[in-house]
């Protein structure tokens, strides 16, 4: 007889095995059971009919309780009579499930959970991610003065159940830095820090509210949010495949920044990207937005077969749309019905069919090995005055009779056009035929022809739900509407996917931890009620992104300190309880922005063509068609924000790469955060950071008064928003003394160090002293505190 449950060591095991804090109360199907069944059983007993063994499916209640060829797998309430229990405990390898050759094993805990679940009635809850979010009642809490808004009450109620307390508020300096990094991607200036600290002394909440309102109105908010969105939609400046030539798309990036700044409602933002060209009387901005459909990687490699690549492109789009808006991995259904989720191969190709009208095959013929290459259709964007001039010139041209006159005017037209920027857009044409490709094989034309359709299990019974009029087919616009319609479509689900991602931006981890997979293989949310309410709040507010952001960052939970005793870190390593805030290194682009801002080098221009920072010579030498020479920007372009940096998919700028910026070949919902020697070398030796250090040093010397102490104050206040303490003064003092002596002996070396980069070299500063302070500035720019969002 097995030991009765729970075992005295049970809570400990649970902690170890799942890093979970969850109480061993009732078994929850989605949280506890589905992940086990999905990972260990569904590959052979799941939704995919073709690979189903023994005609048995365990992904539905009916399947599991009726059985297949053999005994009844699950008898609700009776684990002892359930074949599943016998099989998972079988000693004969021929009977054992999962079979040994699958290399999947059930742990003792998983077996116990299955037993309990069956004993409790084997309820199959529908997959949480497909159940539209509904408002949950906000829980009552004991400690009444902690919560600021309902987010806090959800979290606190949970903590109270766990007999835990939230962390104390972070100090005002930490908080103002957190807000600035999170909302703008930039550090606060000392003046901003002082103002906030002072205001927070009187009324911290009012200070936060005011600061948040101010930051949300800043044009840098859009730049910060765009960093994340551009990862999702895999925005890049090059085609990715083969020659990885440049393509014209940077206006799309500016559109995204503008949209976040203007707080364009998220449903409209979605419509404009997926189907901006189909909106009645679509504006220039909406056409630019439709460039979304052109962001995928493309090729005109000699020998490439258009049909093969059209199949690759359509699959790429399905993967991206489903990842961005649905938090789903529909890509798995390209070759077969999804193993873990209800998506069928037909769903996959039906989704692909929405995009079959995109005019995109011209480049197989006209794609050129030039920079940029040709990827029609594109649109030319001109400044208003150029627009007017061009119109006038064209009129003249039409009227001109004489050949020379025509030539002269054509040259003028070309000159004006050259000042503009081109960008790829979506143009619809009669749709291509789309078939289900058996096993994803594009050479196989035997599959059924499909029309655009929503995934069958999400489409609903209501024929009115986004159905087209008589005889017409669904369009990309229908798809966009369906994705953002909480009543007749899946808008609620979309809202939940996006709300979860916003949460991860501001708390370090998603409420559902896997930001990219809300399917059976992803993790269920730890605070389902909170996540649902955020989702509902989002769409009911009219898809107001800034509103949702504000709600999160003005919560009490957001204000917590990130300090955690080691026990707490071990108990909740991913900070899913939110009993503290998170600490993490800034994303790649912000590493750059932060250094440039501290140095005073950052150029705050908005939008425009992509910029090229210093880059080691020869870094592109492995590219061809054509061979690449990299020309770093001169002047203002050199000191723009990271979001504007040229994104070369195959050879992404090594600084961005070192800090985990993705190549944007595919959707990235969450970047890894690595900590490598290569990253250390970049921060120490990349000319961008060296130049920032020497310009920062100059600034310290000019603006930081005469004495060393005052200068250190100035330096620290700019870099870490606080003055140095005694130890730090001493350590920096010793470093300065050493560096002074070192460079006095080597004045030429001093001159070399303070000449890095393109910024003017000050003639009036003593190079030795400047080099000494540059050494100090390098140390400060390399401090973990400088580039850690805390």
């Amino acid at each position: 007889m097995e030991k009765p449950f729970p075992h005295p060591l049970w809570p400990l095991c649970l902690l170890w095995l799942t890093s979970a804090w969850l109480p061993a109360a009732e078994v929850d199907f989605n949280r506890d059971i589905r992940p086990i069944l999905s990972d260990k059983c569904f590959a052979c007993h799941g939704p995919d009919e073709r690979t189903r063994e023994a005609e048995l499916r365990l992904d539905t209640y009916e399947g599991a309780t009726e059985g297949g060829e053999f005994a009844i797998p699950i008898v609700p309430g009776k684990p002892d009579e359930s074949e599943v229990m016998a099989r998972i405990h079988a000693t004969d390898p021929d009977d054992l499930m999962p079979p040994p050759e699958s290399h999947k094993k059930l742990t003792a805990r998983e077996k116990d959970l299955l037993k309990r679940w069956i004993a409790e009635g084997a309820a199959y809850d529908p997959p949480w991610a497909y159940v539209p979010p509904a408002r949950h009642p906000v829980p009552e809490v004991t400690v009444k003065d902690w919560p600021v808004n309902w987010i806090d009450r959800f979290l606190l109620a949970n903590l109270e159940r766990e007999k835990l307390s939230p962390s104390p508020d972070a100090d005002a300096v930490t908080l103002v830095r957190r807000l600035h990094f999170d909302l703008l991607g930039l550090p606060p200036t000392p003046r901003e820090t002082d103002a906030f600290v002072q205001a927070a002394e009187n009324n911290p909440q009012a200070a936060v509210d005011r600061e948040v309102a101010r930051l949300l109105a800043s044009p840098h908010f859009g730049e910060r949010m765009a960093i994340y969105w551009l990862d999702l939609v895999r925005y890049a400046d090059t085609v990715g495949y083969h020659g990885d030539q440049d393509h014209n798309i940077s206006p799309y990036r500016d559109y995204v920044i503008d949209a976040f700044n203007a707080n364009l409602p998220f449903d409209q933002f979605s419509r404009e990207q997926l189907a901006g060209d189909l909106l009645p009387g679509s504006t220039v901005g909406q056409k630019v937005a439709s460039g979304y459909n052109r962001l995928l990687q493309t090729t005109h490699e000699g020998g490439a077969q258009p049909k093969e690549y059209l199949a690759i492109y359509q699959a790429d789009r399905v993967r991206n749309v489903s990842a961005v808006w649905m938090g789903a991995t529909v890509g798995c259904a390209q070759c077969h019905d999804h193993k873990y989720d209800p998506y069928t191969a037909k769903d996959f190709y039906s989704l692909a069919a929405f995009f079959a009208d995109i005019d995109e095959d011209q480049h197989f013929k006209v794609g050129s090995n030039t920079l940029p290459t040709k990827r029609p259709p594109e649109m030319l964007l001109l400044a208003p005055e150029d627009e007017a001039e061009l119109a006038a010139l064209k009129e003249e041209l039409a009227a001109a009779g004489d050949k020379d006159e025509k030539k002269r005017l054509q040259a003028k037209v070309a000159a004006v056009e050259k000042r503009g920027r081109r960008t790829m857009i979506t143009v619809a044409k009669p749709p291509r035929e789309v078939r289900v490709l058996p096993r994803g094989n594009w050479l196989d034309d035997t599959g059924a022809i499909v029309q655009p359709a929503y995934p069958h299990f999400l489409a609903g019974d209501d024929p009115g739900s986004g159905e087209p009029g008589e005889g017409s087919r669904l369009t990309r616009l229908d798809l966009a509407n369906w994705l953002t319609d909480p009543v007749d479509g899946t808008g609620g689900l979309t809202a939940r996917v996006f709300a979860n991602r916003l949460w991860a931006l501001f708390f370090g981890t998603g409420i559902a931890r896997d930001l990219g997979d809300f399917g059976g293989q992803g993790e269920a949310p730890v605070h389902p009620g909170l996540l649902d309410n955020l989702a509902v709040e989002f769409h009911e507010s009219g898809w107001d992104v800034k509103h949702l952001v504000k709600l999160m960052v003005t919560s009490r939970a957001y204000r917590q300190s990130s300090l955690a005793p080691p026990e707490m870190r071990e108990r909740d390593p991913h900070n899913q309880l939110v009993a503290r805030q998170s600490r993490f290194r800034l994303p790649a682009e912000m590493m750059r922005d932060n250094a440039l801002a501290i140095a005073g080098l950052l150029v705050n221009e908005h939008g425009g063509k992509s910029v090229k920072p210093y880059q080691p010579a020869g870094y592109y030498r492995h590219l061809n068609f054509p061979p690449r020479k990299y020309a770093a920007d001169t002047g203002a372009g050199q000191w723009r924000r990271g979001v504007y940096v040229h994104w070369q998919r195959q050879f992404l700028h090594p600084m961005l790469r070192a800090f985990d910026a993705p190549t944007r070949e595919e959707c990235t919902a969450e970047r890894p955060r690595s900590n490598t020697p290569v990253a250390a070398m970049v921060l120490l030796n990349d000319p961008t950071f060296l130049e920032a250090a020497r310009v920062f040093a100059e600034r310290i010397m000019r603006e930081g008064a005469a004495g060393e102490g005052d200068r250190l104050d100035f330096a620290y206040r700019h870099a870490v928003s606080r003055p140095p303490d005694g130890d730090e003064r001493r350590i920096m003092g010793e470093l300065l003394a050493f560096a002074r002596k070192d460079f006095q002996a080597r004045p030429e070396a001093a001159k070399a160090l303070v000449s890095t980069g393109q910024a003017p070299v000050p003639a009036d500063l003593d190079p030795v002293e400047h080099a000494a302070w540059t050494t100090a500035a390098r140390a400060i720019l390399n401090l973990a505190e400088t580039f850690t969002r805390n």
């Binding site: 170890w16 799942t18 495949y241 083969h242 990885d244 990687q297 000699g302 020998g303 490439a304 077969q305 690759i312 991995t329 798995c332 059976g520 990130s562 080691p566 870190r569 390593p573 600490r583 080691p616 010579a617 020869g618 870094y619 030498r621 492995h622 061809n624 195959q650 992404l652 790469r657 690595s674 900590n675 490598t676 020697p677 290569v678 250390a680 070398m681 120490l684 030796n685 000319p687 730090e728 350590i731 920096m732 010793e734 470093l735 050493f738 070192d742 080597r746 070396a749 070399a752 160090l753 303070v754 890095t756 080099a771 390098r778 140390a779 390399n782 401090l783 505190e785 850690t788 805390n790």
Partner: protein, 489 residues
Amino acid sequence: MNPLHEHRLALTRRHFFRQGGMGLGAAALGHLLGQDAMAAAPGMKAAAGLPHLPHFAPKAKRAIYLFMSGAPSQLDMFDYKPKMADLFDEDLPESIRQGQRLTTMTSKQKRFPVAPSMYAFEKVANNADGAWISELLPYTKKMAKDLCIIKSMHTEAINHDPAITYFCTGDQLPGKASLGAWLSYGLGSENENLPAFVVMNATWSAKRDAQAIYNRLWGSGFLPSKHQGVLLRSQGDPVLFLSNPEGVERNTRRRMLDALEKLNRKTLESFGDPETQARIAQYEMAFRMQASVPELTDLSQEPERTFEAYGPDSRKPGTFANCALMARRLAERGVRFTQIFHRGWDQHGNIAGDLPLQCRDVDQAAHALITDLRERGMLEDTLVVWGGEFGRTIYCQGKLTRENYGRDHHPRNFTIWMAGAGVKPGIVYGETDDFSYNVTENPVHIHSFNATLLHLLGINHRQFTFKHQGLDQRLTGVESAPVVKDILL
């Protein structure tokens, strides 16, 4: 990675740093004081891989992969087809082509005339029935007893980008982890001072435009980014941003790092954040790499006979011969996986002009590498692989003459070789038809090939997975990919 494991790793790491934290700086200083940076290496703790790996005792501790990008012509190098001599300029029979899809570069050709190899083949003794090798590879002939030549490789991809991505990452589409990244992730590094996965891109001699190569071929894909290959460059810094800036000497840098460490340690004390601890260690590792990488690339202590063996090019940074020598030095230092990409093998035309140049680039150096490893007793636990992303067609692309011809891409069969650790030496495996157009015996698919490679390194490829996008991702895909047991010792 499974969260439990991740958590345990973090704990181990933390434990390690707590024990050794302050000691790292001192060890690094030791290197500074004139010690051979590598002499200290064996005593240093290597970066760990997964705790349950290897799955079984590996035959190979490390691997060197000589990747011939562009697709070398098996017909002119290894796959001897004497019957073709009589079929010069005859049409390729449809019974052989069987409606095989062609690239759009030749699919519109009116004819597919047979182009027999213009090169003389010789049957050289190996440990079985001998191996036919062409006159383009005189040094390779000398090592037939070391090689396992596989003539029956096949792939589905017919264009370079998807094909090479397939070989290097197990998938034609981007986004997956590369072979070296998998090995770094699974097996970790044997040398703390050098990365586990090093990539070199060699210069080449063919005149024709070479195919580009891509970061993704040595990328980490869905694996943590620290596992991506580190490019060892032949111009500028050997590792990007390795050198101190102009004006900063090593002791200046040391003093700055000391100050930085003290300051970061204060942050560590206040927050107890293991990330800060790790960061301190990474700055030390970067500092050590400033010594270990130049020591690695400094060939001045190599005896004259080394350069004689690898050929005169081996003194020239960036050549294949130079990279091959560097690969041996990396292997000596415990680098897990070294990959050299040699471009220029895409002979759509002018085989007579370009193929001999390409062969000359690699033939002697590959021979020297094998010999060198054997002499050092390292061939028994070092696996060496040579090959490209697909093969080339028997039929001519472009103009066919007795003196020159071109060949299009051919995925249905092509030749690669392996040598060393655990691989049967001196055999030829697999067979193709008279046209070198179809495999007739013992086909080896890319996935099987990679499965075999992993097997030699002690890894069961079915069990070597990483969860991403809801799937257990593996290098060898979802279909069965049996290890090629026939070629194993």
